[in-house]
């Protein structure tokens, strides 16, 4: 208990930073992932190829390596300067978007053909069918895997600790500087994540109930 209460000034802000990192990259990867999914189902082969190439590369690269690229290599390219925190958000977004894309795409597959056909019969365009008929149903039917991906994202935020971002994963090194017991400190960090994951699982269950598509 002492390790937690003597160092609340670490645990509080650092876990808040984790949540900040999580929310920003979750929004980013949901947007980018949906755009990628739209590319992957579009009627233009070039767009499909771009989406596929992106997903294949991003899914098969370790996230730590993506981090290493944005933190160590990217600044040398001298494009737009990214601080450690924005770099971490970028790395998490670029990586997670590929997984979100695949989840959304599998959701699009669950929408019956008749829905799109009815839309076409009404004279809707491809964009309208996708945006107003198919995607809303697809997103609702993939709530569970979508949130599983977000839970993975939450856990992945710890990797930022290896790249100079002061979030929950970094609490350990600060504790060791203060000469606290690291094992106990780490168990508290673990408990923090168990609680955060439990919250997300709760959201998952309630959304699943409320948003399930009646077919």
């Amino acid at each position: 208990m002492d390790v937690l209460f003597n160092n609340l000034d670490l645990f509080g802000p650092f876990f808040l930073r984790t949540i900040e990192l999580f929310v920003l990259s979750a929004v980013g990867s949901l947007v980018l992932g949906t755009v990628l999914a739209m590319l992957r189902v579009s009627p233009v082969p070039v767009f499909r190829a771009v989406g596929t190439a992106y997903v294949t590369i991003a899914r098969n690269t370790p996230l730590t390596l993506v981090f290493a690229f944005f933190v160590f290599a990217y600044p040398l390219l001298d494009i737009v300067k990214l601080d450690y925190f924005p770099a971490a958000v970028t790395a998490l977004t670029v990586y997670t978007a590929a997984f979100i894309c695949e989840v959304v795409r599998s959701g699009i597959n669950t929408v019956p053909v008749g829905q799109a056909e009815a839309g076409r019969a009404l004279g809707l365009t491809f964009g309208q069918i996708l945006g107003q008929v198919v995607l809303p149903q697809a997103l609702r039917s993939v709530v569970p895997p979508l949130i599983s991906t977000l839970i993975a994202l939450l856990k992945n935020t710890t990797i930022a600790a290896g790249f100079s971002v002061a979030e929950a994963g970094a609490i350990r090194s600060y504790l060791s500087e203060r000469g606290e017991n690291q094992l106990v400190g780490l168990l508290w960090v673990a408990l923090g994540f168990i609680i955060l994951v439990a919250v997300l699982s709760f959201v998952q269950r309630s959304l699943e109930k409320r948003w399930s598509v009646a077919r």
Partner: protein, 292 residues
């Protein structure tokens, strides 16, 4: 499936698609060209930044780093599969207390980030007098995390089997353990092979986390070479080389999964009728592959 969304294009649509294709190609090429130009402009393509690849010693060390990655992967994969099988069987046990313990362990390790698990082993255990090496920390962390994910995969596979399988086995006079390990698990593993292998891809990628606890694997070596002043600090080239190696290794594993999936579809020994449920599970675990 893409024709869910659009009909066979007519002449005007084809013209429009062609315009989009041209615009899209130009945009993509422009983006890649810009990145390439930034690489070139900041001197990442100069011979000096790449000459390290020619040194025999560097090549040997790079090979060793890849071997370290593969060693950690192999050890953790085998242990995680064993852990998964045992705890899946535990969660399906008839004894409430075994179910309870197994369920608690699996949920516990699934909720903790793999990196925190590695920290717990590498930094935490030595404080209570248990000696640790980075290699052991990586392997144990990966085993517990991926093992508990695999336990859920096995469990879903077993639950998707028709009830007649275990009923027939019991009718033959088999014991519970025999039913589980001789009849149910082999079928579940076969049906779930593609999912299991995609989880192993996650495990392979997660070995790169070891770099944070100073395990000297591929990413660690790429970082090291990238910081060498004698080679002009080639961090961009070494990152590119490491990425290519990782992507190739993972794609080989993925190719194996796709091959097994295709073989499964032809194979009559794989129980039919589990399709819907397995798809559900596969959908869930496809998301799980984001783990690290």
């Amino acid at each position: 499936m893409s024709n869910v969304l659009f009909d066979v294009p007519g002449p005007r649509a084809r013209l429009r698609y062609r315009t989009y294709a041209v615009v899209g190609t130009v945009a993509v090429l422009g983006f890649l060209g810009y990145i390439g130009w930034r690489f070139y402009d900041s001197g990442q393509f100069t011979a000096r930044k790449w000459e390290w690849l020619q040194y025999a010693q560097v090549q040997r060390d790079l090979g060793n780093a890849v071997l370290q990655t593969l060693e950690a992967f192999a050890a953790a994969a085998v242990l995680a599969l064993i852990f998964g099988a045992i705890f899946a069987a535990g969660r399906l046990s008839d004894h409430a207390w075994i179910r309870g313990i197994a369920g608690f362990v699996v949920e516990f390790f699934r909720a903790i980030p793999a990196l925190i698990l590695m920290f717990l082993f590498y930094f935490g255990l030595p404080t209570v007098g248990v000696p640790m090496t980075p290699f052991l920390g990586v392997v144990l962390g990966l085993t517990l995390y991926n093992g508990s994910v695999l336990a859920e995969v096995f469990r879903a596979g077993i639950q998707s089997l028709p009830k007649g399988q275990s009923e027939a086995a019991y009718a033959l006079g088999m014991r519970k353990t025999q039913v589980m390990f001789l009849v149910l698990l082999p079928q579940a593993i076969r049906a779930m092979l593609p999912t299991i292998i995609s989880q192993l891809v996650v495990l392979l990628k997660d070995t790169a986390l070891g770099f944070i606890i100073t395990f000297q694997e591929l990413l660690y070596y790429a970082r090291y070479i990238g910081s060498q002043g004698t080679f002009g600090r080639p961090i961009v080239p070494s990152t590119i080389v490491a990425t290519v190696i990782y992507v190739v290794m993972c794609l080989l594993l993925t190719a194996l999964a796709t091959y097994l999936e295709r073989r499964n579809r032809r194979n009559k020994k794989v129980i039919a009728g589990t399709g819907g449920k397995l798809e559900q599970v596969a959908l869930g675990s496809a998301a799980g592959t984001a783990g690290g």
